[in-house]
């Protein structure tokens, strides 16, 4: 694939997820078909219809200085852990990039919910004087971005897109724009989420959005399957280091993939329900492919948003089929990771990049009986085992409550 001066590449990857404490262990577990989902056993869960969760494998606080960890909400802790892995692996710190030319874009869907709800308990039980002075910096939705910015010493701007489950993908799109507009030389992008708590669980359950397959945790998240009944809430973070290709090559950086294009749209349809034919989603995918200078025929793989909800998966299948076609190999990795909300787009971009690099498409777990929906039937959704293939371009799409649609196109380095 030809390159030009404005090309943006990925030089660092980081993650902490329900499958592993870093990128390598997460990827290995994904390809091995392992599930990150388990059933909550705490007393509070008893009355809950949906009792499943995809918990982190590694406690993020153990990798951080103790005093630093207690001043960070769990959503900030996971952001810092993933961002530091990406930053280290990129080698950007050793390349002498001026801090004024380093930017951060890090999204979250919910923000510091654990702090907000925990401090509300303190307020109710002990009164206002006992509320922590760190409450606000721990609950604010720009908290993960700000914590990452401090961790790497970024002074070129710190930004926090908030678009529910599209936040992580939106951060990547913003990072691409910052580099194209020459507002930074290196951008650390990603998403973080950690809101496993009774209130968000009750809220999502009240929307009838979560799987209630409580007796079979590992089989509950089953995108595109006829028996799917909702998503499984996950926690974690993922991060990418982006920079211009010429600069990355000049410093001898490892280039994992090109971030070739991005597209973003809004449904303009409903606050939470997706457009049934995925109209806005399709426009985002088409825009990203155009932005990358490619055609639908060039796209070999889609890492789908597919959360395992009855309406979402079929709308997305229609969007993929109508915009790209039936030739593309689709996978839905939330079948193993659960749904990391604001971190999902970042984590699935990491998976898309690794799929490109290793020329392998991970399988969609639990897809025993594909939905009768014509688009689901027509698509080539990889299942049972990962498929080795040859492809040079792939799409990761993400959608969020609010009607936010983001699509990203990655190509081989």
């Amino acid at each position: 694939m030809s390159t030009s001066v404005g090309d943006v590449v990925v030089t660092g990857l980081g993650a902490t997820t329900p499958l592993g404490g870093d990128v390598a262990s997460t990827w290995d577990a994904l390809l091995a078909g392992r599930s990150g989902v388990s059933r909550i056993t705490d007393d509070w869960i008893k009355e809950f219809p949906a009792q499943l969760v995809a918990r982190l494998v590694a406690d993020p606080a153990t990798g951080l200085d103790r005093v630093r960890a207690r001043r960070l909400d769990r959503s900030q802790q996971v952001a810092v852990v993933a961002a530091e892995e990406a930053w280290r692996s990129s080698g950007a710190a050793d390349a002498g990039v001026a801090p004024e030319r380093v930017a951060v874009v890090f999204g979250t869907g919910i923000g510091g919910a654990l702090t907000l709800l925990g401090q509300d308990d303190v307020l109710e039980e002990k009164g206002p004087k006992r509320v922590s002075p760190f409450t606000i910096p721990m609950l604010m939705p720009n908290g993960p971005a700000a914590a990452v910015g401090l961790a790497v010493g970024a002074k070129g701007g710190v930004h926090a897109p908030v678009s529910a489950c599209a936040s992580g993908a939106e951060a990547i799109r913003w990072g691409l724009d910052l580099l194209r507009f020459d507002r930074a030389d290196v951008v650390l992008v990603g998403g973080a989420e950690a809101c496993v708590h009774p209130l968000p669980m009750a809220g999502f359950a009240a929307m009838r959005a979560m799987s209630t397959r409580n007796d079979e945790p590992e089989r509950a998240s089953r995108p595109f399957d006829k028996a799917r009944d909702g998503f499984v809430l996950g926690e974690g973070a993922a991060a990418l280091v982006l920079e211009r290709a010429d600069a990355a090559r000049a410093r001898g950086a490892t280039i994992h993939a090109r971030l070739a294009g991005a597209g973003g749209t809004a449904d303009g349809y409903d606050l939470v329900a997706p457009h049934p034919e995925g109209e806005g989603a399709g426009r985002a995918i088409a825009a990203a492919i155009r932005d990358a200078g490619l055609t639908p025929a060039d796209i070999g793989h889609v890492n789908a948003h597919a959360t395992s909800t009855p309406v979402g998966d079929t709308a997305e299948a229609a969007a993929i089929r109508n915009t790209i076609g039936d030739h593309v190999l689709v996978t839905a990795t939330k079948s193993q990771t659960g749904h990391l909300l604001g971190a999902a787009g970042a984590l699935e971009s990491v998976f898309t990049i690794l799929a490109l690099r290793e020329q392998v498409v991970p399988a969609t777990a639990n897809l025993d009986d594909p939905d009768d929906d014509p688009a689901v039937q027509a698509l080539d959704i990889v299942r049972r085992e990962a498929r080795r293939t040859q492809f040079s371009a792939a799409v990761n799409d993400s959608f969020g409550f609010g009607g936010h649609n983001i699509a990203l196109v990655f190509t081989t380095a």
Binding site: D65, V67, K129, R130, P133, F134
Partner: protein, 79 residues
């Protein structure tokens, strides 16, 4: 008495701000020497109230510059 207070204060400083107990000596300035920021001072004041039963009003908190200042304040206002 003041040694007990110093030891107790050192425990608080270690817990809240990661200050090594050996560094928590009377002449040390919270901000200059021990890198304790204003939000941490609020947490320290709360912990002092729990441990010693001495509330530090906000207008007094600003006058407490050193570990020694805190020890004297606690000593003066205790039981």
């Amino acid at each position: 008495m003041s040694e007990d207070i110093q030891t107790g204060l050192a425990e608080i400083l270690e817990e809240v701000a990661g200050v090594a107990p050996a560094d928590a000596t009377p002449e040390k300035s919270f901000t200059e020497d021990l890198d304790v920021d204003s939000l941490s001072m609020v947490e320290i004041a709360t912990a002092v109230e729990d441990k010693f039963g001495v509330a530090i009003p906000d207008d007094e908190l600003g006058n407490i510059k050193t570990v020694g200042d805190a020890i004297s304040f606690i000593q003066k206002n205790q039981g």
